[in-house]
């Protein structure tokens, strides 16, 4: 770069002419949000300072309070230090998309069409679409779009099962039939961006990496408050929590919406995974968390914030409720399994993992004490607990607001708060009914 050019560059970088009124407003609003963010941390720290002082009066509950604060703040801190690796043009392994679908006539076309639009050498792409006993027009949609895709020079196979076998069977079938190095699972209601693949694949240049999770946002975010809430929740779950886990390569769940795996490693465990049993019952849900678990036992799982995908989330409370119950159950099962080997990982990662297990398991006890037992005994509203919870969620909400821009973030957070309280019993209930797999169907 010539000195002249460098000077010009610098000038444009620091040009004040560009700052218009709207820019000032934008800067002020971001500044205000950051201020709010740290102000909430400050309030939380104040409260915790008092808690530390009273730690003797109730060791368990005070410890819970301190650990959860440390855990959450450490997530934000770690995610701040998270770094993704640069894209290497010379590393371009062949890939296979696997999409099992059941009754997805509305979305499957778009899902598959997007595979043909990615920035990647077409001859290195293979698509395996599995129609898992759909009773609607899914198969027809698949066949229609497969013609389009094939015309672009992409190798696509449509497998048609007349009788439904379940998502796990479909994924396993995909693994077995795939011929390429990297297998990318995409849910039949998820859509990937053009650059998604290159940012997923770049991590596999490191042989230790077995799985990569994309960043998934909510596609139907603006439908109602429930989907807005999930929009905020997804964003934070990926940008903060997965990023924090990813620092140590121990992302505990590469979600089914869009995640890539190294086929070489998958084929070693695919049969074990397919026939996985827990407490004598065959596992039929939580396939993604389970598959990640099999991989991180030996290899690394990371998160790629630049690999973007979008997924459709439940837009009614009933669907949301069932999905949550399913997730809670698979969380209980897979966390139990992961507990047996997570201690071998990076000490900080292991500490985070076990802290989270402790927190999740204690949360309903703490909730019961704060919201039912104490108010019953003292005849006082559980204001401290509920506002503390809201404060914690507000922290997430402000972060979401800062990173994504103007959104109904406050309502989303209120609704998340409400749903957390409403569904707090789901985890203990999931533990009690862990052997009951009826929730497994969607």
């Amino acid at each position: 770069m010539s000195p002249n050019k460098a000077a010009k560059n610098l000038q444009s970088k620091f040009s004040f002419k560009k700052i218009s009124f709207s820019n000032i407003r934008k800067i002020l609003s971001i500044f205000g949000s950051w201020f709010g963010f740290f102000f909430i941390i400050y309030i939380i720290l104040l409260i915790k300072a008092v808690t530390v002082r009273n730690i003797e009066t109730n060791l368990f509950f005070a410890a819970y309070s301190i650990i959860i604060t440390t855990y959450i703040l450490s997530r934000f801190l770690l995610s701040y230090f998270h770094k993704s690796i640069p894209y290497d043009k010379n590393y371009e392994p062949s890939i296979t998309f696997v999409v099992p679908a059941k009754n997805e006539e509305d979305n499957i076309g778009e899902t598959i069409r997007r595979f043909s639009e990615v920035n990647y050498s077409k001859e290195k792409i293979e698509v395996i679409a599995i129609n898992d006993g759909s009773t609607d027009n899914t198969l027809a949609e698949m066949q229609k779009v497969s013609q389009e895709v094939r015309n672009k020079g992409i190798n696509i196979k449509v497998i048609n099962w007349k009788i439904n076998r379940g998502k796990r069977e479909g994924m396993a079938e995909g693994i077995k039939r795939a011929k390429n190095e990297i297998v990318i699972f995409v849910d039949s209601d998820s859509f990937i961006d053009k650059d998604c693949v290159i940012h997923l694949v770049k991590y596999f240049s490191n042989q230790e990496v077995g799985a990569v999770s994309a960043h998934t946002d909510v596609f139907n975010r603006d439908i109602n408050l429930l989907t807005q809430m999930q929009g905020a929740r997804y964003f934070i779950a990926f940008k903060v929590y997965k990023a924090a886990e990813s620092i140590f390569g121990s992302v505990t769940c590469c979600p089914g919406c869009c995640s890539a795996y190294r086929r070489k490693y998958l084929t070693k465990i695919v049969d074990k995974w397919l026939n996985q049993k827990f407490l004598g019952v065959k596992c039929t849900f939580g396939d993604d968390r389970s598959l990640t678990n099999f991989i991180i036992k030996k290899y690394k799982a990371v998160y790629s914030p630049e690999a973007k995908a979008h997924t459709v989330v439940p837009d009614t409370f009933k669907k949301y409720f069932r999905q949550q119950q399913r997730w809670k159950k698979s969380w209980v099962r897979e966390t139990f399994i992961a507990s047996s080997f997570m201690w071998k990982k990076n000490p900080l990662a292991a500490l985070s993992f076990y802290s989270y297990v402790f927190l999740a398991l204690s949360s309903s006890i703490v909730f019961f004490r704060a919201v039912i037992w104490n108010p019953y005994v003292t005849r006082a509203w559980p204001i401290a607990y509920l506002s503390g919870l809201l404060l914690m969620l507000m922290l997430h909400g402000l972060y979401y607001r800062i990173k994504v821009g103007k959104r109904a973030w406050f309502l989303a957070i209120l609704s998340f708060w409400f749903h957390t309280i409403l569904l707090i019993w789901q985890l203990p209930w999931a533990i009690i009914t862990i052997k009951d797999s009826r929730w497994g169907t969607r």
């Binding site: 104040l46 300072a49 770094k83």
Partner: protein, 525 residues
């Protein structure tokens, strides 16, 4: 590791952490006293900062600060070398709150600090309750210049300003708390349970009982007069009568017991002592003449030591095996010098003693008025008294001595030289009057005339050398070098106690004497 651990990011997080923790600490600091539970970090920091400051003050006379404070932690050469002598008397000091700004009642922090520093520099060291109990009741020895430091009421401002000073001087203290306020509720004024636990943990504080309910005033008659919880029978308005003696006894017993058991339960510490609210163990009762007897009888099985403020008495404690322990309440107007004088004048005096009243060596006025001025001790009655009684502090251990005084009579009927003074109800005396000389013994308040000889022995306007002599066998009175009267053997005195003066006249405010000098010589038998 997929992490960007650049210096830039680390510095950002570091500065954010510093800003956040500083804000938290500052906020909590501002809220000391307002949010009772919120002052952990700030008080820790403040406490240690002040400790270093005091530590450097005591080691360097206040010239250097902090840096030397840091070094002085490792030195322990503060104060005089304690002597090998053992204590005969032990003073107990009483404070309440220690303030930055005067409220007209409590001692200021700058005075308190100077007082403690002066005590330390003069070789005084604190003891624990157990050590004091050993001294008073079990005949155990204590090093000379031992004292007990106490605070009443359990106020926050007895702890926060004081603790760094204790730490710097290696002192410890006792705080008497009101359990009703300190254990059951949180306030910005009284120490709470957590603070008390912290204090116990430091090892510098002993937490004892001041009362549970008895720190407020209660109605004691139909007209609504207010009195003291432990010394007056309360008015039961619903039954329109005073409580019975049984009710009084069970009420105070309950409070003595509950305040003790609550402290022991909540703080897991041993409670062996009690400080009477207002220093009143019944002696100030308005409507119950038996109060003192009942209180002392009731409290004895519950506490080993009970503290009160001693006014017009010997100010320090001797190994007398009594349950009542005297305290010197430090006045807000005393500076360090004054406190040292007060303590020194209460210390045991050598029995070979002369006093020409250049300064006050510890003359205590029980009633009437005294003034030490122009190398004279003036004693007067007041408009409310027919006489006066003064005695010399620090003489309670004297036995077998001859006490002479050069007395100038100004007005009044009689001039009395007091010997073997224990308290106003127990002493021996020679009464010199315009009509007679007599030897009078006061035992538990009852007068007993041993010898009386008629004839004038004092004259208004004249100066005479009067004397009293006491030994194991005999009391005698003298004028000049002549013995006027003697108690008759085989009556034995077998007594110990100090010296004093008493004057009397049948008319109020009509007696006055001046004493130019006195001398005391031991009598060897």
């Amino acid at each position: 590791m997929y992490a960007d651990i650049s210096l830039n990011k680390i510095m950002q997080i570091l500065s954010l952490t510093i800003i956040l923790s500083l804000s938290v600490i500052l906020t909590l600091n501002l809220e000391i006293g307002y949010v009772s539970n919120a002052n952990l970090f700030s008080s820790l920091i403040k406490n240690n900062y002040e400790y270093l400051k005091y530590k450097s003050d005591i080691s360097n006379g206040g010239n250097a600060f902090l840096v030397t404070g840091l070094f002085s932690i490792f030195k322990n050469d503060v104060g005089e070398d304690s002597s090998t002598e053992t204590a005969n008397l032990v003073p107990v000091l009483l404070y309440h709150g220690i303030l930055d700004k005067s409220d007209g009642e409590n001692v200021l922090l700058k005075d308190f600090k100077e007082q403690m520093f002066a005590l330390k520099r003069n070789g005084w060291n604190t003891i624990t309750l157990e050590e004091l109990h050993g001294f008073i009741n079990e005949g155990k020895k204590l090093p000379d210049k031992s004292f007990l430091l106490t605070f009443d009421d359990g106020r926050k401002d007895s702890y926060y300003p004081v603790d760094p000073i204790l730490k710097a001087l290696d002192y410890n203290a006792v705080i008497f708390v009101i359990t009703k306020y300190s254990l059951t509720q949180s306030s910005k004024y009284y120490l709470d349970k957590n603070e008390l636990k912290e204090m116990l943990k430091s090892g510098r504080w002993e937490i004892q009982s001041h009362t549970k309910e008895g720190h407020t005033f209660y109605v004691i008659d139909q007209t609504g007069t207010k009195g003291h919880f432990y010394s007056d029978r309360l008015w039961l308005s619903d039954r329109n009568r005073l409580e019975t003696e049984e009710e009084f006894t069970s009420r105070i017993t309950k409070d003595f017991q509950e305040s003790k058991s609550e402290l022991e339960k909540y703080l897991d510490t041993k409670v062996i002592s009690f400080a009477y609210p207002f220093g009143d163990y019944g002696q100030n009762s308005v409507n119950y003449s038996n109060a003192t007897k009942v209180v002392l009888k009731t409290i004895a099985p519950i506490y080993q030591m009970t503290f009160y403020q001693a006014w017009g008495e010997y100010s320090q404690n001797s190994p007398n095996n009594k349950i009542l322990v005297k305290r010197i309440e430090v006045d807000k107007d005393w500076n360090a010098q004054k406190l040292l004088e007060v303590i020194n004048s209460g210390r045991e005096k050598d029995i070979t003693y002369t006093d020409n009243f250049e300064q006050d060596s510890g003359w205590v006025t029980r009633w009437g008025e005294t003034l030490i001025d122009n190398n004279k001790l003036q004693i007067k009655s007041t408009e409310f008294s027919s006489g006066a009684l003064v005695f010399l502090d620090g003489t309670q251990h004297w036995t077998n001595y001859q006490f002479n005084a050069e007395v100038h009579a100004i007005k009044g009927e009689s001039i009395t030289l007091v010997a073997n003074y224990k308290d106003e109800l127990n002493y021996d005396s020679c009464v010199f009057s315009t009509k007679y000389v007599k030897i009078e013994q006061i035992i538990n308040g009852t007068k007993k005339i041993l010898v009386l000889r008629k004839g004038a022995s004092t004259f208004i306007g004249a100066t005479r050398e009067l004397g009293i002599s006491t030994n194991n066998n005999q009391l005698s009175c003298s004028i000049g070098n002549t013995i006027i009267v003697k108690s008759k053997p085989p009556y034995t005195v077998k007594s110990s106690g100090g010296i004093g003066f008493k004057i009397w006249d049948p008319i109020l405010n009509n007696s006055e004497i001046e004493i130019k000098n006195i001398s005391v010589e031991p009598i060897t038998l």
